[in-house]
Symmetry: C2
């Protein structure tokens, strides 16, 4: 049987998910915007700082009053507080706090540590200060109408601080992709339920939900069904009702009997295929009421790997997250692979750039995958590699 | 005035926050554990897989029945579903699905693609299969009682999947540090409120809340007070009532008048100091009813930088997050610094490893900080640097 190359299926999923790239932004409060991505540039509605203020605790003076060192009467006291201070009386100083409004008539602030105040209410200033000293002009950080933050920015605390300083309380950010996750298989029970004979706990739902959240998707439905077409179709309808933009399924797409996903969606035009890869050969894509459905095989390692390979890169692009890191490492020991299949082995990175395989190639080894920190990507045409060979690895 | 070196204050804050390192873990559902850190190793309560099952869709056989190629009567059909299949009748095959329980008596699975089923209910198997082929033994991934995940692990989707597969629904994780954030200053209004003369929007609260959340802290109180000791003390009491383990304040600790934090906490033993750094000279630490209080200056850039320098590294350690990245870069243009103060200039990294300064050294430039992507760390004893000089930068 001719198997489809991985890259071809990557292209299909990319095409299927293309509509997710043009989505309406979402307006969120600044307090909830940490880590979100700005959908549009933000302009400051006000000058920053909004008014002329003191950079220091000290004395506001008119610099022309002290062409040489001398003393001035302290005629006012200006806290950093609401209100407009009285104009500075010529030939006097006003005690002023950092951030307080500079009175009309003053043009410089002398830091308190460069002054001596005396009991008679005067302040002695031992050096000469030029106009503008320690004065923060209105708009000296940014003028009203200027760009505060650019579109595409991932918001961190300093960006939220700038928004708050500009009095902005909500922003338009890229909306999260709304994802539904459906596990299929009559053998599945919810994690934590007691296992009868022939039953296993569903780990695919947990894995796909967490992996999607980890790349900024929003889970709108998480479901699990037995191998029953009506039950599966009802869950697909529920996903649509929950406003899912993308449905991920696991299980039910191989060539056996009781393949509920294939049997439900193939008559509706699903493309069901077998790829030249291990684990994760069976793969499918479909549309259900116009919503893209990406169908992964049911083996736990296969479904996790399939998400990582086919869907995660697109969700990262949409969320403007960096790509998963790939590093060339050196094999610690020889390995064999299946020629004609691209193989993803679980591995553990060692100090010094080497990597060892972990737990064998079988697709049920969830604990070994959990213990791995890299995937070793063995190309289709490779059947064996000696110790010391360079291999491409994906950081987990 | 002798100013305290930055490193000395770092040590004080580290000592003050030492009790935060030994905290009781928190039990959370697996579904809410993404990104959390395991407080204890997790042991699998069951074998993984829990029972002997088929790795393929195909036919379960007794290998001794086919010492050479031949055909067998298909005597049973075993789906992946609850229940125990009947024992395999000697000399027959059972059609079996991936993940289905292997019947007693069978010891190998022949993949469906290596077989031909005929209309008379028999399956022809063209090659010889040894015992164990395509059989997943119970416990072959992990045995009951073995370590599934180690303590200290940051949980990602594959770890949650392994927990689910083992039927585990909740885990003990390191608890988040409970933080209260209090902004002080009579000039402050909530972001979005209209600004009267002398007023500015509080950006420190937004910044500290987001920065603390970004290193996995939990915000239990966010407050803002005018320069009034009773009001400030009431907010401190509220933070205690909200079970804060750490209080962060901004403003009110310099040498001016109306310094509400200093005036409230210094009589209770606060250490109020001026550091040899810019921005962020004034700094204080205190305890309030036994809870550590770290007090930052009120200038927006100063308070953000102070958090980054003094508190963030400790919260990162507690949350087992990696340290903030520091990179040596090359100055794009000459700069001057204040000798005797460690200076943190805002900068923008350029391609090719160079860095340019952005917006000047003043501590009110929130928009410039938002536009920066690095801090340039200029040592205390440096007064000027030529273009091309190497500087240490912190990634923002």
């Amino acid at each position: 049987m001719a198997r489809t190359p991985v890259a071809e299926h990557e292209g299909r999923v990319r095409a299927l998910l293309a509509p997710l790239r043009t989505r309406a932004p979402e307006t969120v409060p600044v307090a909830a915007a940490l880590g979100r991505v700005l959908a549009a540039p933000v302009v400051s509605p006000i000058d920053l700082p909004p008014f002329r203020n003191s950079q220091m605790d000290g004395y506001a003076i008119r610099s022309a009053d002290l062409p040489e060192p001398g003393s001035l009467l302290i005629a006012a006291d200006i806290p950093a507080a609401p209100g407009t201070p009285s104009p500075l009386v010529a030939g006097t100083a006003a005690r002023i706090m950092t951030g307080a409004s500079i009175p009309t008539g003053a043009d410089a602030v002398v830091p308190v540590e460069d002054t001596v105040a005396s009991d008679d209410g005067r302040v002695t200033i031992a050096s000469v200060w030029s106009a503008g000293s320690y004065v923060r002009e209105a708009g000296s950080d940014l003028r009203a109408g200027e760009d505060l933050l650019p579109a595409g920015l991932r918001l961190s605390s300093r960006h939220l601080a700038a928004l708050s300083a500009a009095g902005i309380t909500s922003v338009d950010v890229e909306s999260r992709v709304r994802v539904a996750v459906i596990s299929t298989g009559s053998e599945l029970v919810a994690p934590g339920e007691s296992l009868g004979p022939g039953q296993i706990a569903d780990s695919n739902g947990t894995a796909l939900v967490a992996a999607a959240r980890d790349v900024a998707a929003q889970i709108v439905l998480e479901g699990r069904v037995v191998d029953d077409r009506d039950a599966f179709e009802a869950l697909l309808e529920a996903a649509i009702a929950a406003d899912a933009e993308l449905v991920l399924t696991s299980g039910g797409i191989s060539q056996g009997a009781y393949e509920v996903v294939r049997e439900t969606l193939e008559p509706q035009g699903a493309l069901v295929d077998v790829l030249a890869m291990q684990p994760g050969g069976p793969q499918a894509i479909a549309s259900f009421r116009g919503i893209p459905v990406v169908c992964f095989p049911g083996n736990p390692v296969s479904s996790q790997l399939s998400f990582l390979l086919f869907v995660e890169p697109l969700l990262r692009e949409i969320a403007r997250l960096p790509d998963r890191i790939r590093v060339t490492r050196v094999l610690d020991a020889p390995l064999t692979s299946v020629e004609g299949k691209r193989q993803f082995l679980r591995g553990r990175s060692l100090p010094d750039g080497r990597v060892e395989t972990l737990g064998g190639p079988s697709s049920h080894l969830v604990a070994a995958l959990a213990a791995a920190d890299v995937l070793i990507d063995i190309p289709e045409d490779v059947a064996e590699l000696p110790a010391g060979a360079s291999v491409e690895t994906w950081e987990l």
